[in-house]
Subunit: 223 residues, 2 copies
């Protein structure tokens, strides 16, 4: 039997993924399209947050949304129904993540020519999606108050990889033992450049700051 080196294989997979991701970033930047990857645990409020965000921004910029799920089409439908923007459901065949090639194929299928901002709602998982660069210009994650302030300690890679960490469900803070200062301190130890934004997708609290950050990042692309 031939020897199989699993580590070697993984290195090749990651290197190939990185090449495709860089290509996607360049292609989209050349078209003036800002591409943002949104990750979180299941149930942290990705779909609700994105519906709110898109409704706030859709008169200023042309937005498209792609949604990854194992097999349902609930999220893409919810975003499309709530916002009226064009939405694509990606089924990833039971995988725990989406890689740069799958993302590039989805972008091709979706058609992004008339967009200013492209959003990828990743699969709900704090482990695997952090390992695969999708080709997004920026990574955003949501940590919701009911999940607890210790999550950065337990899923450090995810918190290290994200440019913005939205702390969602701030309207429920009084019902949970969640210490915002403690959560922020854990995050900044892993990722000193992280932007931490407390929000409530339900009430809209803090969402304007996030929308403005997206507009700023898009403006930087064209410079």
């Amino acid at each position: 039997m031939a020897e199989v080196k699993i580590i070697k294989l993984n290195e090749n997979i990651y290197a190939k993924n990185e090449d495709q991701a860089e290509q996607t970033r360049k292609d989209l930047a050349a078209k003036g399209i800002f591409f943002m990857n949104v990750m979180s645990s299941p149930g942290s409020g990705k779909t609700t947050m994105l519906s709110k965000l898109i409704n706030m921004m859709k008169d200023k910029v042309r937005i498209g949304e792609m949604d990854v799920d194992i097999q349902s089409t609930i999220d893409a439908q919810r975003v499309a129904d709530a916002t009226g923007v064009r939405s694509l459901q990606i089924h990833n065949g039971g995988l725990c993540h989406i890689d740069a090639e799958m993302t590039a194929n989805a972008i091709k299928e979706f058609g992004v020519e008339n967009l200013d901002v492209l959003i990828l709602e990743n699969i709900g998982n704090l482990v695997c999606p952090a390992e695969f660069d999708t080709g997004a210009h920026k990574n955003v994650m949501i940590l919701s108050v009911p999940e607890g302030d210790d999550k950065p300690l337990k899923y450090p890679l995810m918190f290290s990889k994200c440019d913005v960490i939205l702390i969602n469900k701030m309207d429920t803070l009084e019902y949970f033992d969640f210490d915002l200062e403690k959560a922020s301190s854990h995050i900044l130890k892993l990722n000193p450049d992280a932007k931490i934004m407390p929000i409530s997708a339900k009430t809209g609290e803090g969402m304007e700051q996030f929308a403005n950050w997206i507009l700023d990042e898009r403006a930087k692309l064209n410079k």
Copy 2:
């Protein structure tokens, strides 16, 4: 270059895993040890629930707890501090799951000779842990109210694999749009034999029913 058949490889991995899992189940049953695997999203309350459960049961049965995390030791320490029972932290080296061989090694390391009930707190993830039989006699998962009642539709494999689905954080029901009937109906469509138990690990609501289920399952082992 030789052809590589990924599917074949995966089939072998799963088949080998299944053999080890069956061995673990037999070995532990022969010793009268009931082995339960607890899975959920990050932040659904696994550690809090287990601390409460162990404190309720530890005078009746001898319990040991093994806790899987990517790199922290928070959870094993929290359970040990809260309950005084023996607890082992397993670091899985960044993986998104734990398989039967890793579990068997951990059991050997931990030493289970004097136990009646062995609990595995799996990594917080609704995708990957569902794919790997750990060798537990029963699988239990937690869905917490803040995560939403649509989760069975989005993570169907996990909900299909579990014998008991605990609906946790019932004390926060009035603050969230969570329909218990809808969640139950989604679960039972995937898994008609699932036992659905609404609980609050914080207040203790519903926990007695779950503790009794564990005692019943343990009693069945010895028949």
